[in-house]
Symmetry: C2
DNA sequence: GCCACTTCTGTCATTCGGTGTCATGAATGG
DNA sequence: CCATTCATGACACCGAATGACAGAAGTGGC
């Protein structure tokens, strides 16, 4: 069961994230101080840092959880499937689950350099784990797993940028398909 | 001719960068304050920020200049050459020009998260310019140019990581060749 | 050499992100 | 009911970064 403490903690964290996102989208990330967020949420500046290790981290969370299970889903793919197809399928599933709120967050990230940097950092960590999972599943050497996952990351990046270029009406999944098709590496069929 | 002011400025900037790199490699980026660097170089902390916009920027410079002319070299490639081959050739040339000092810098960057973030940010800007140059030269749509340059960036990343994995004896150019060969996208031969 | 004019520099003060400390009060578990 | 744990706020502190100002030094014209 979830104790009162745990529930309160999650509630405050969600409240802080919501307040922060609102202020950020309204005035821009750099024009909002941690004190602003804390005061708007009715807590002290010190308490903010008890819920988030850094100011940037108040933005992630809705995005972060999604990236965690990609490695698991990857190991659950059919055994004979080529690695590139596995990555494509899993990531296609992932972009399909991105909801409207996450898209607003992604836009904020895309236009804020410091957030972009933090985002790339997290994505790189995730990519590293995914590469390890892929190497274990398909018995690939680390270099090849690195190549495949990095290329997949590039595909996601390009699809994301193209989606931002075209506006929210474009279909992200279709853009990702195009990117994966165009980028299919030579090493998938050795 | 270069006036005394200009020469003095470059000298101080180089001195600051050298001192900073020495302290960073010795004690780690986060364990060195700007005051430390400034004092070791015999200037005030305030003056440091007149030469570099941020602490991280004292590390780049030896690396940055190299990335600037990649777009130019790209436009100078033979007209009929496939885009992927052009990127391969130019970047191969680029890694070949990386000297020992730059390698030490790269190692420092690779093991310092905040430097990595800054580095990725700069590389992304460079990639964007290169994509524009490539699109203009080979009359590609922005999306395809994006895909090719991002994949090339992934190749460089993977080669760099593999090089760090294997130690300084490995040949970076050869690793880059392998990455580019394995990653050759399907869209190079439409 | 002398004199404006610009640029560089150090000093001081300030903002902001982030951390350590400590006392207080509330939740928890027996 | 009581001892322990945990969250909180208040305060001080560090380091990165910026603005303001005064003085030193280079630059160009006379």
């Amino acid at each position: 069961m979830a104790g009162l403490r745990e529930r309160a903690r999650r509630a405050v964290q969600a409240e802080l994230a919501a307040v922060a996102l609102e202020l950020f989208t309204e005035r821009g990330f750099d024009e909002v101080t941690v004190d602003d967020i804390a005061r708007a949420a009715g807590v002290s500046k010190r308490s903010f840092f008890r819920y988030f290790p850094a100011k940037e981290d108040a933005v992630f969370g809705g995005v972060q959880v999604m990236g965690d299970d990609i490695a698991d889903q990857l190991t659950a793919r059919p055994a004979g499937e080529p690695p590139w197809e596995s990555l494509h399928a899993v990531l296609r599933d992932w972009v399909a689950r991105i909801d409207a709120e996450s898209r607003a967050t992604l836009r904020l990230i895309e236009r804020t350099p410091s957030l972009r940097a933090r985002f790339q950092q997290r994505r790189e960590e995730a990519r590293s784990r995914i590469a390890a999972a892929l190497a274990a599943r398909a018995s690939l050497d680390p270099f090849t797993a690195d190549l495949l996952t990095s290329a997949a990351g590039a595909a996601v990046d390009c699809a994301s940028r193209e989606w931002l270029r075209r506006g929210p009406d474009a279909d992200p999944a279709h853009l990702l398909d195009t990117a994966f098709t165009h980028l299919r590496p030579a090493c998938t069929t050795p």
